[in-house]
Amino acid sequence: MTRTMLLAILDTMLPGDEGEPPLPPASEAGLDLTRLERLAEPVITALGENDGFLAAAAADRVAKLRIVELNAPVAFKALLAEALAGYYEAPPVLAALGWRVAPPQPHGHDVAPNDEALFRTLEKVKSRGQLWRA
């Protein structure tokens, strides 16, 4: 039951979208659920009525979770932080947002070299003369 509830909560927090390419719902992003399960326990307890949550429509699930967010903010925040971390480092999510999966090093990123013409506009700035006071 905990796992089913956890997945339902995660999908309410991070439902995904229909963009191009689509963001997957959290339950399909390949998150490590072990740690999330532990963090979800107090949130599930605060929700109280598992069946009601599972049976509810998406908008009602949001409303129910918002109440938990207000009433059990510490537990809710801890679960949300872990869910966000797992989700936004998951390869399918990075790919959907057009970002690479490999960490920043050793390859770094390409940035276009400076545009000489743009730098020539600095002459205008220079032509204003001394801007500092002494």
């Binding site: 963001l23 480092e89 947002l97 057009g98 970002w99 990123h109 801007l131 500092w132 002494a134």
Partner: protein, 530 residues
Amino acid sequence: MASGRQIKFGPIDVAIVGAGLGGAAFARRLAGRAPRLRILCFERGDWLDRANLPAQQPDWQRLSLGRWATSPNLRLQAGGNGISADYPIDDSGSDFKPLMWNGVGGSTINWAAHFPRLHPSDFKIRTLDGVGDDWPFSYFDLEPYYDLNDEAFGVSGLAGDPAYPPKKSRRMPPLPLGRLGAKAARAFDALGWHWWPVDAAINTVTEGTREACNHCGPCQQGCANGAKSSTDLTYWPRAIASGVGLRTNCIVQEIVVEGGVATGIRYRDGNGRDCWQPASTIVVAGNGIGTARLLMASGIESPALGRNLMFHPAAYVRGMFTEELDGPVGPVGCALYSHEFYETDETRGFKRGIHLQVTRENPLLVQASRLEPAWGAEAQRLLREEFRHSMAVLVMAEDLPELHNRVTMAREMEADGMPGVRVEYTLSREARRALDFGMARAEEMLRAAGAHRIVRVPLAPYTGWHLLGTARMGSDPATSVTNADGCCHAVPNVIVADGSLFPTAGACNPGSTIGALALKLADALVGARP
């Protein structure tokens, strides 16, 4: 006092506390000036191991919010990282959260390496604007040391900025502005406002074993390829080669003072042993919080000690663009700044000025974590709109020295054997006005650049990068902790050599001034000139 069970070392000439920016610059200069002096530095943390930095790990984003966060409190909450020897700071009474690194290199390990100088006017704001205090010397007295410090750090940038007195040509070409910077530059140009590519202590050209920046992004978690200058890479190798000793994992607990003279330091070494190091001169460079904490724990008294804490209050304005910008590629302290509004213009309704800086974006997870609403379909829609399509402008103001903004000691002892430390800071009305003015200008620029949506962050708590003023210089012992040479009025053979000394802060980053100042103080100790 030293006890019988202490490990006792033979006397030395100079003991330096803290191997960060001020401590490293001081050590290197002093060793070069007076090679016969026996100089030892004591650093509470360890050397950085660049092979294991977050930037090479798949979970680097998560690490940057936890064990490698910029806040020592967040790092401690996440279990620490074993290199930065952090101590908890009670920052519940502070509008800004103090950020730092406690290991060799100090906060230059996680700094953004944006490397501006203060303006000449910043050294005499009492004379020019009737607020704050004047520094005990001028920009031009410090200028030769700025040049020396630039040389040690290796600056990329472009000389010729009319917002400053002429500077020597920069050793390396400026960092690329990127799409984001180019767009901002055109907008500043269209508005007729000052803009200039940043001076950065970052290699744009490979120098020796230190590679050129490859724009990886997370500078504030340490630079894996050594492109970013930090004092473990710049001053320390040279200081050590000139004979300075550096003892790591040593927490200095107390400066022992007898009859108004410091006789040495008591420290806890990496094995938890109590050690005694006699020294003729003690130099303290523990940063605006660490220095005040140690001086207070040592019973060194001054009415100004711990007071007048300055952070450089910060706000952000973020613009969303239809076209694609760079996203979270580094370095974060890039790309350009505007000092159009840096000097006082009283028609704006406040004195002193603001620094506008177009910065690069944060990692995806950081962007996702600061959304409002924080979760649900709307959060994901906003993130899609923002990610790789946003431009952030940092608005930084000058906060004036105020007695009630301060560092105090708690009664409880911390695990590091020292009294706990608390920070109290409230944003002043004047600084609020400056930030509001700056946000309006930032928004104007972003609109001119084509932003279709603007998000303002009127006060950004996790921007406590600059810890300044808590052991300020001056001539009056009633209002300052040290004289112009950094010597404590109460105990003259204790010298402060870090950001704590700033009588006022200007409105831009302090690193290059801290380095220059430390070089100047080392010369003063041996009676040398630049």
